[in-house]
């Protein structure tokens, strides 16, 4: 999967027609074969744009900052990124006319070990759901699979699972990089930033981290698109996908097979209800 040429062509065309102010793509990292997000305003920098199976980051995140929010932006999205972007459009965070979306029919990206990433193996929608221009051949929606780690953890005893999660939460340094790297965490004033609320638990302990990560994952429940930007940003390498995939599997199983960002104007599982939702856990 190497679409660098096509992306460069489209970017230079967009700059030539004055359709965009910014272009967001990927650039080769200078010290190894990984790639970094690359924001350009100058058409002279277009030859640096690349797209291969190392283009792991979700570029929809770069529509959040003030300097790109009200500008016309061209950006490259894979299947999962386009679902996040679809939600951002639905939630009025981005104006559709302000973005020029280059959708990639993704064949899966690699993780740092050079294997196909776990979320790509389990991907449900490799094709872009929203785009102006599509690159590659669409392969269609795939069957939803419950995450392999979730299945494994579900077989463990409660105490064993609790010990495991406590060791995870202990390593959290409360840097909030997960929140900043998430395209769907765009609140100007986040509830995790308040220090005066008596409900907020700001201590840098496993219970404080548990409070923060629970809150964060529940705010993203029914909206998370499994792009794993949070996990790539986490300096402590916490397996943050566990929380999201757990919520996703519960939501998929119980709420009419809901998957976030797949359709236009679908705001997420918690913004709607059905009379036939499961009631058996309620006394």
């Amino acid at each position: 999967m190497d679409y660098s040429k096509q992306i460069q062509e489209i970017a230079s065309k967009l700059f030539a027609e004055n359709k965009i102010d910014y272009f967001v793509g990927y650039k080769q990292n200078s010290f190894d074969d990984s790639q970094v997000p690359f924001l350009i305003t100058d058409p002279a920098e277009i030859p640096k744009l690349v797209f291969t199976d190392r283009s792991v980051f979700n570029l929809a995140n770069y529509l959040k900052p003030d300097h790109t929010k009200r500008k016309r932006v061209g950006l490259v999205v894979k299947g999962c990124d386009s679902r996040a972007l679809n939600l951002m459009l639905t939630e009025s965070q981005v104006k559709r006319e302000n973005v020029y979306i280059i959708g990639i029919c993704c064949e899966g990206v690699l993780n740092e070990k050079g294997e196909k990433a776990q979320n790509c193996v389990e991907c449900v929608m490799p094709d872009p759901v929203v785009y102006d221009e599509m690159i590659g051949t669409p392969t269609g929606k795939r069957e939803y699979k419950v995450n392999v780690d979730i299945r494994e953890l579900a077989t463990k005893a409660l105490e064993e699972r609790a010990d495991y999660f406590e060791s995870i939460f202990e390593n959290c340094i409360r840097c909030n990089a997960c929140r900043h790297s998430c395209p769907l965490c765009y609140c100007a004033k986040c509830c995790l930033d308040q220090e005066t609320s008596t409900l907020y638990h700001g201590a840098n302990t496993s219970s404080g981290a548990m409070h923060a990560l629970m809150t964060w994952s529940l705010h993203l429940a029914g909206r998370c698109v499994d792009c794993r930007n949070c996990e790539k940003a986490c300096p402590s390498h916490l397996p943050l996908h566990l929380l999201h995939k757990q919520n996703e599997s519960v939501i998929y199983e119980n709420f009419q097979q809901h998957l976030a960002g797949m359709e236009k104007d679908d705001r997420g599982a918690f913004y709607k209800y059905s009379l036939s939702d499961p009631d058996d856990f309620i006394l």
């Binding site: 609790a162 999660f165 201590a203 302990t205 209800y273």
Partner: protein, 162 residues
């Protein structure tokens, strides 16, 4: 899971973790978050009807069950409570028409997530109690108290200074 409270040398042994014990007269603290229009009135009816129910529950009144933020549950469990009971109107009876339908979705996901990270599922309980169901409220509180007594004191993710 054990069906009866294990008692050894005058102590309660947690069904969740055998290392956790409590004195035989240990009483759990249960945070009850009740919706103003149904369950709170229902609990009031229980009292005015002179129906006995365990005094372990501490009640907070909220406008609607959908007002319940997962923070309420997490904060309760991290500080004093050994369990949480959230109660609202029956589906279709919500004072705000559809609040409890939204709440029901959130409760399911919250309960499963908290169970996933290590809280026993019986520590977070939900119920629908209408304003006319005084006896049901007493039964629900008795059941929840009994369940949590079996689990013993909560020791996970406790907030040290609050």
């Amino acid at each position: 899971m054990e069906t009866e409270v294990k008692e050894a040398q005058g102590k309660i042994i947690s069904a969740e973790n055998p290392d956790i014990t409590a004195p035989a007269d240990w009483q759990p603290v249960i945070m009850g978050i009740l919706c103003n229009w149904c369950s709170y009135a229902g609990s009031d009816l229980t009292g005015t009807s002179r129906i006995q129910y365990p005094p372990n529950i501490r009640i907070i009144r909220v406008p609607c069950s959908s007002r319940v933020d997962p923070w309420f549950i997490i904060k309760s469990l991290q500080t004093t409570a050994d369990g949480v009971l959230i109660s609202g109107c029956h589906p279709g009876d919500c004072h705000y028409i559809s609040g409890n339908y939204y709440a029901r979705r959130r409760f399911l996901v919250t309960k499963k997530l908290l169970n996933f990270v290590g809280y026993h599922e019986n520590r977070i309980q939900f119920s629908w109690v209408s304003a006319a169901e005084g006896p049901k409220f007493a039964k629900v509180v008795a059941k929840v108290t009994e369940d949590i007594k079996k689990l013993g004191p909560l020791h996970r993710y406790k907030k040290e200074n609050f």
